[in-house]
């Protein structure tokens, strides 16, 4: 006397109360002072848990959709972080070129800047723009951010190879996208 539950499990048919005894209702008899637990909820618990876990997993892949204001804030925050990372790497690289910084320190600072900029880029990419204007703003920021991340990679490679000319080239390539980002942040 069982019927298929809409959640995929089985439950006792309501028309056979005698056979199911205590299970005929929605709850089991309580033991001692423990609260009664709805029987179907117990059976639903694994499904609910799976749904929550799946939701969490999906939430981890894509950031929440923001309001236009929230998205704008996120874009500007990313632009500011990437510009600051480029400024830090530029400062360290210039000190290294001037012979005022140890290689390990310059390498650590430049690598850290590259990591920070890459993280900010990924964080921005994971956000869904809520409307067309937000999408345009995001696209406006993405190009210079990509250029900065690429420039920082070039700078780190040149630094590790000890190529002063390569470092100067990479520093030169960083200037324009950083200006674009700073202008965007300042606007």
């Amino acid at each position: 006397m069982l019927e298929r539950s809409p959640w995929g499990g089985v439950k006792p048919r309501a028309a056979a109360p005698q056979a199911s005894g205590a299970r005929q209702g929605l709850s089991r008899p309580s033991k001692g002072t423990s609260p009664t637990v709805p029987y179907d909820l117990r059976r639903l618990a694994p499904h609910l848990l799976a749904a929550v876990l799946a939701g969490c997993a999906l939430a981890g892949c894509v950031g929440p959709t923001l309001t236009p204001d929230g998205y704008r804030h996120k874009v500007l925050d990313s632009a500011k972080t990437v510009a600051a990372a480029a400024a830090s790497a530029t400062y360290a690289a210039r000190l290294e070129l001037g012979g005022r910084l140890a290689f390990a320190v310059a390498d650590t600072v430049v690598s850290g800047a590259e990591q920070d900029a890459g993280d900010a880029q990924q964080a921005l990419d994971s956000r869904q723009p809520p409307d067309a204007a937000s999408m345009a703003l995001g696209e406006r920021a993405r190009a210079p951010i990509r250029e900065v991340v690429d420039g920082l990679r070039q700078l780190r490679i040149a630094l590790r190879r000890g190529e002063d000319a390569g470092m100067r080239r990479a520093l030169g390539a960083l200037a324009r996208p950083v200006d674009d980002l700073q202008a965007m942040v300042g606007s």
Binding site: L95, R100, G112
Partner: protein
């Protein structure tokens, strides 16, 4: 002459010992982000550390009782246990941050990732705690920590705009891009870096290790009244260097190496080397002090034999607690938690929990049963109460600020 030398050594040790990873990180971050507008937070924090450090030192010297002994005796077993758990957990977080900090300095020197260094640092700290005599540990690491004075030198060598720095410090305002929650969050972080609970526990327990007596109160007061303010001055120098060199370039400090860049610009590789030496010594000393503080606290609360002067055989449970806390803190850093973020969270939560440690000290410092006629004077009680009220307000607002600002992000 020997006494003068001893006093000088004590004061210099206090200067070097005041600064730890919390001061390095928070001073660098805030200098780059807010300029000198948060200098007042270091001044207030240092003043609090002086007031309560003197009280804890006086209780240790006159009543011959360290902090956790007092807490259990005066505030009862249950309150004491809650206090012990909170202080130990916070010290554990701080210890993890210090171990990670030494690893970060070694990464800056060698280029090898800090994670590789962390187990070795944990081992080195344990060996220091276990084997190195107390005086040697305090004096050698404290003196090496004085290399941080290079930040003050750098400010004078570089073309510093003193007027702008002074104006920023004396006319503090919230930068338009930051907002009040962020401003006060970082103010609390600076404050918390000056008054971390482990420091006062270490200071009073170290006083017992050093055998302070009422006759040596002058030594203790010189340490507090000269050493701590000069330690605070080092924190301010780090902030001002960051304000002068990093803020105009719009650099955000996310890594320890960035804090040393202004020194490299002003003084070149030699200055940079001294800065890194100062970082390593100050943070390593703080790690050892932090591990010892956890051992001191637990042993004093439970009435076990404690002290670095005793052999491990004489104080096995004290040594075991130090070792276990080092293992736990090392494991925490090895989870690849960002040591910089861990530091900021640890100092901010430490600021929130500080009344738990400081309130019993204020009570004990007014207890004639302990101190006879050396109890607090009226004006000291007024200052102590004002500071305690400030700390209670900070305790209330810290967690909301931590959540609102996403830990200063």
């Amino acid at each position: 002459m020997k006494r003068v030398l001893s006093l000088t050594l004590g004061v210099m040790t206090a200067i070097g010992g005041f600064v730890d990873i919390g001061n390095l990180v928070t001073s660098g971050v805030t200098g780059a982000r807010f300029g000198t507008a948060l200098t007042w937070a270091i001044l207030v924090g240092t003043a609090g550390m002086i007031i309560y450090g003197e009280m804890a030192g006086r209780v240790a010297a006159v009543a011959k009782r360290p902090v956790f002994h007092v807490i259990r005796e005066r505030l009862g077993v249950r309150f004491g246990l809650a206090n012990l758990v909170a202080a130990s957990l916070l010290s554990l977080m701080t210890l993890a941050a210090e171990i990670g900090g030494v690893g970060l300095v070694l990464e800056l020197v060698t280029g090898v990732s800090y994670v590789i260094w962390v187990p070795l640092v944990g081992l080195a700290v344990w060996l220091t705690v276990w084997r190195m005599p107390f005086g040697l540990m305090e004096n050698v690491l404290g003196m090496l920590g004085l290399a941080l004075l290079v930040f003050i030198v750098a400010l004078f060598v570089a073309p510093t705009d003193w007027g702008a720095l002074w104006h920023g410090a004396t006319h503090p305002n919230v930068p338009a891009a930051e907002g009040h929650p962020m401003y006060f969050f970082y103010a609390i972080s600076l404050f918390g870096a000056c008054v971390v609970p482990y420091q006062v526990v270490f200071f009073s327990s170290g006083g017992r290790e050093d055998g302070w007596t009422p006759e040596r109160l002058v030594d203790m007061r010189l340490n507090v009244l000269i050493g701590f303010p000069l330690g605070g001055a080092l924190s301010i120098a780090i902030m001002w260097a960051a304000a002068a060199a990093l803020r105009p370039r719009q650099i955000q400090v996310n890594h320890l190496g960035q804090v040393a860049l202004p020194v490299a610009e002003a003084l070149g590789p030699v200055g940079l080397g001294l800065a890194l030496l100062g970082f390593a010594a100050a943070v390593f000393a703080a790690a050892a002090e932090c591990a010892l503080s956890i051992g001191y606290g637990v042993a004093q609360y439970f009435g076990w034999a404690w002290g670095k002067q005793r052999t491990p055989r004489e104080a096995p449970r004290f040594q075991a607690v130090c070792l276990l806390s080092l293992i736990a803190a090392t494991a925490l850093v090895l989870t690849s938690l960002d040591p910089i973020m861990l530091t900021i969270v640890a100092v901010v939560l430490g600021a929130a929990a500080i009344p738990l440690t400081y309130f019993p000290i204020l009570v004990a410092a007014n207890d004639r049963g302990y101190l006879g006629d050396r109890v607090n004077r009226g004006w000291l009680n007024v200052l102590g109460l004002l500071f305690l009220l400030t700390m209670i307000v900070i305790s209330v607002v810290t967690v909301p600020l931590l959540l609102i600002t996403k830990a200063g992000q």
